[in-house]
Symmetry: C2
Subunit: 248 residues, 2 copies
């Protein structure tokens, strides 16, 4: 049975402040937990119900694990329907972004993205298209928010999400800086070359003025119908797909 | 002030059963309500707060409208943060799908899509790329679910969403039937011609067996990285974009 302090700490991890304080985040579901075990992340503690135990892979010895009742899992889960397994995973410290890391590759740069489902979907999609890392502005939703982890469907275990001052990043970048906007060059006519930053804006406000100022090429996904804009995860996917199509 | 029966009826519209019973659904937010007023839909009743009144367009005389307090709007709203305006809109009866409607165009066909955010995003994306209508299996989430309406960002007012037995539809279709799967012909090498159904599967289970049996061409979005699958709204967008790109 879980103690009250244990439950208090784990449920506190639903808030960014306490995730930072404890250096931990929550991963749920057998598939996702298994992917984090097999990744470079350090899984610290796994809680599982007897029912899930039969489906779980053998947990490595260096990870604490503990069978708990359905009611206890319900107490610590972030999901309406808990999935039998919940892991506490250490928040990693990624190396600072260097020019070297940015060259010879494309990076999605997210300007104050707010919706956790959108960020999770972008992480999942970026991995599908072979991107190694995503860069978020400091004002973006936290990648270790349980809803982001959930929507990334395990891809967060393999795609690095960096947070930085993206105005400075765009200003100093030695690679080309592209921005997804509503009135730029059509994406199909854009020469992307072999490297660059692809900046995507906030759900409601688009790319902020200070960041816009550093965009070297404004790019647009051509519209045929009347919708006012595209969802940011959809735009991100269309950029990833177009870059992947040309690479072939 | 709203009466208790009014509040009871309006909140009941959060459930499909009562939407069907009353033939009504809820639209919230000035932008979305305005788009429904300007569409072919019949807006029946608009509730607005005094604060929102100043931003609202002139409401046509044939629509009942009523100023309500913030607390009353909170009671009937489906949102955590109500947006000042809530409209009751009549669920339309679309004509039955005919061969004629399906020819010379592409249609997304969704097999038991469950997530309202996904369906709303697909409607919004489909409109961006100029599609007129979307076809859903009878087991799919209801297009008039408040979360679908919200995620469609007004596009539901212009894109028809039809519900039908899609196994029969795919079986009898005189246009080509394409299916989005994990092991088909790469999308960039697929000859789509000028018309067809693009079938996309359920979030967890993909395309169901009976529907799969009628797919004439299995199509895949090529993967570079390791993610297991793509979100269904992302797949839908990539198909829409590829068809739009070729049309040009």
């Amino acid at each position: 049975m879980l103690s009250k302090p244990q439950i208090r700490i784990i449920t506190s991890l639903q808030h960014k402040k306490f995730r930072r304080e404890h250096g931990l985040f929550i991963v749920e579901g057998i598939k996702s937990v298994t992917e984090f075990i097999h990744s470079d992340y350090h899984v610290v503690h796994i809680f599982y119900t007897s029912q899930a135990a039969t489906k779980l892979i053998k947990i490595p010895q260096n990870i604490k694990s503990e069978e708990v009742g359905e009611d206890d899992l319900q107490r610590i889960s972030t999901l309406k329907t808990p999935q039998g397994v919940l892991a506490l995973v250490q928040i990693p410290l990624f190396p600072t972004l260097t020019e070297d890391m940015l060259s010879n590759a494309f990076h999605l740069v997210l300007d104050d993205i707010q919706d956790p489902g959108n960020l999770g979907t972008i992480i999942r999609t970026a991995e599908w298209f072979g991107l190694q890392r995503i860069i978020c502005s400091n004002g973006s939703v936290d990648a270790y928010n349980p809803k982001v982890v959930q929507a990334s469907m395990g891809s967060l275990s393999r795609v690095q999400v960096h947070y930085t001052d993206i105005t400075t990043l765009a200003h100093k970048a030695s690679v080309p800086v592209f921005g997804a906007v509503l009135n730029g060059t059509p994406i199909y006519e854009t020469d992307f070359g072999t490297e660059g930053l692809i900046i995507l804006g906030n759900e409601g406000k688009g790319i902020s003025e200070p960041v816009l100022a550093h965009i070297q090429q404004a790019v647009t996904i051509p519209k045929i119908g009347r919708a006012e804009s595209l969802n940011v995860a959809i735009s991100a996917a269309l950029f990833c797909a177009e870059l992947a199509r040309r690479k072939k």
